[in-house]
Amino acid sequence: MSSDLLSIGASGTRAARIALDVTAQNIANAATEGYVRRSTRLEEVSSAGGFNTIGDVSLSGVRLDRVVRNADLFRQSEVRRTGADSGRAAAELNGLQNAEAAIEQSGLFDAMVRFEGALQQLVGDPTSNALRANVIEEARTMAGTFNIASAALGSVGTGLRFEAADGVSQVNTLAQELARVNLRLARAADSTSDQTSLLDQRDSLMQQMSGYVDVSATINADATVEVRLGGAAGQLLVSGGSAQPLGMTTASDGTISFDVGGVGVAPAGGALAGKAQALVKLVDINVTLEQIAGAMMAAVNTAQAGGVSLGGTAGQPLFAGSSAATIALALTDPAGIATAPAGSGPGSRNAGNLDALRAALAAADPAGAMDALLFDVSSTVAGRQVTANALNTIADTARVNLAAQAGVDLDQEAVNLVRYQQAFQASGRVMQVAQDTFNTLLGIK
């Protein structure tokens, strides 16, 4: 008989104390982001009978086996995957919404319609200076709104690239942090509270990283993690204690591409992928805007050249510049609008060339093309909105699912608090009994 009632009681109070500590830690971290609920696993301490003591009762109390971290690897990887998808969709949607606002709120379509209307009004009295001045002012407004739209699209692109560059440096910081956590994990002893908090950090870092790029993680036996960017066959970003740098390259058209340690990668998820996609669409929008501006300028300037001004001189170009960003009004004198056909004298009321100008403008149809561009952008945004909402719901569900499993339930902790308090009190009672028993033996007279 090698049991010791006092030490059994003491081990019980120790185990209950640890369990109470863990419970208190859980309660304290109930609202901590990335904290995974801990629970204690206790183990009985007893020894089997040895030589000559077969059948002997040998009880030594209880000890803490390990602090269990209730993390579900599958749910965690789901949160990363859906978070990357949702991050990509949200970033792309945000970029496209900004682009939509840039061209819609510039008022370009309205300015085009007003220019068209001013020309139509000029037909009523081609020699009227008031109506001519009106055309000039509407043309100036239109040129200005082209500049505004182009500049706004440019700043949307700049903003996206700036955010992408920030995202890249965030990913690099997170990757280095993760590499450090890997090193410490390799050194930390199993089941210590040090290791569990490192694991929390590891998972939280990976989750943050998945908001920027889609990562696939392989967890090794020593709890360190190997992170690849862009799917399971992607480029190695973090391995052991080393992190490869993620780089970003901006092409001449403003689109961006990424590389890990010099090897090109194409992230399929995360905010960086979304921004890259939005920038590609932005290039399309810019090209179309340039086409509209070019067609409008060519139609108006060619028609101008085919007529004569109010003064009887050959028509001069109405617009100068080579792109939507640089288009400007070249003709500021209202008399310069070439309403009369070539060969007419000064002050001619013949609106032949004005009709030709309007016909050329109607054929080029910049307002129609602008409407088509707005429709293209807005329907893209509407479509992406649906996708983003769906992916966001999926990501929310995954997050809540993980929180449901890994998060702290205060009610349960309250129960544990009571349970381990009782266990502590009971173990204390055991020690009391041990003392009483001992006293009984001592008291034998």
């Binding site: 309205d110 009295d125 000064p346 009321r349 013949n350 807005s378 909105q385 339930d409 129960v415 009571v418």
Partner: protein, 306 residues
């Protein structure tokens, strides 16, 4: 969200997602109510927004069409008035020619009548050089200056262009805003083309010249004035038809603009009743969610364990 969970943070997360979703929905409905617009941006309904843009473009251009139609209408009214004056002059000249054709008149009396006709001819030339609403020659087509000039021989020469300008009335319809001088002042006497001013000059000159030819000149003048009046009344009919055409297109434009306004309201306007009902529904659900959230959140075991 159908997950059943026991984790406190999951409960708060879920509640937050649900409540903020409901709140966003309510705010969207509220902004649609207060702006009266169903679409805050094109992407809310790309097809509807594109249709709205086309309708607004048609509206803007229709406003210009209205201005042009009014301009054409006022020019044609000026033409109509001038034609009436022309007819009055022609009638008066014809009366004078009838008087002059009377054999009892003396040569001096005929010369006097000739003088009156010569003076009236100058008035007619003035009238033919009348100005339109923009200050240009009403009957000069698209010419920059006057419609008629008087040459060295005292004859009126038409210096305007061959046709008057057209004004667009929208939807591809046009109207000629005026008449050119020759269109109503020119007519043929016995197969020879002449115009009113030339006929009046011949009459006045013949009467003033006196002699045996004066009575014949008066009779020729009567015939010429009949033809001239014919040409003017024909022109009045043309002008009347054009004004009626403007009225027709104006009415059509008004109808179309009403249709457009109705469609704009359909596509882009807020359906107040439906939106208020949906807002009320959302608010009810939101209130219920908030109430149940606060009840559940206050339900803690720690309160009960003493």
């Amino acid at each position: 969200m159908t997950t059943v969970s026991t984790s406190t943070s999951a409960f708060y997360d879920r509640s937050m997602i649900d409540l903020s979703g409901l709140r966003a929905q309510a705010e969207e409905l509220q902004s649609s109510l207060s702006s009266g617009q169903r679409l805050a941006r094109s992407s809310d309904d790309p097809v509807g927004a594109s249709r709205l843009r086309q309708l607004q473009r048609a509206d803007a251009l229709s406003t210009v069409d209205i201005a042009n139609a009014q301009r054409a209408s006022s020019d044609l009214q000026l033409v109509d008035g001038a034609l009436g004056s022309f007819a009055d002059y022609v009638t008066r000249v014809k009366e004078l020619a009838i008087q002059a054709a009377n054999g009892t008149l003396t040569a001096a009396q005929r010369a006097g009548i000739g003088g009156e006709i010569a003076a009236m001819r100058l008035n007619v030339i003035q009238l033919a050089n009348a100005r339109d609403s923009a200050g240009d020659a009403l009957f000069g087509g698209q010419a920059a200056g006057v419609a008629y000039t008087i040459d060295a021989a005292g004859a009126a020469q038409y210096v305007g262009t061959a046709t008057a300008s057209e004004l667009p009335l929208g939807e591809g319809q046009n109207v000629t805003r005026s008449l050119t001088g020759p269109e109503f002042l020119q007519f043929a006497v016995n197969g020879t083309s002449t115009d009113l001013m030339a006929a009046m000059k011949a009459l006045a000159d013949g009467l003033q010249a006196g002699g045996p030819g004066a009575q014949q000149a008066a009779r020729d003048g009567m015939a010429a004035m009949d033809l001239g009046l014919d040409a003017i009344t024909t022109a009045q009919t043309v002008v009347g038809t054009r004004m009626a055409w403007i009225d027709v297109t104006t009415e059509r434009r008004t109808n179309l603009s009403e249709l457009r306004a109705a469609e704009e309201a359909d596509v882009g306007g807020t359906d107040i009743a439906a939106t208020v009902a949906r807002l009320q529904q959302t608010m009810t659900v939101l209130e219920a969610s908030q109430a149940s959230f606060s009840k559940l959140a206050s339900l803690s075991l720690f309160e009960l364990i003493r």
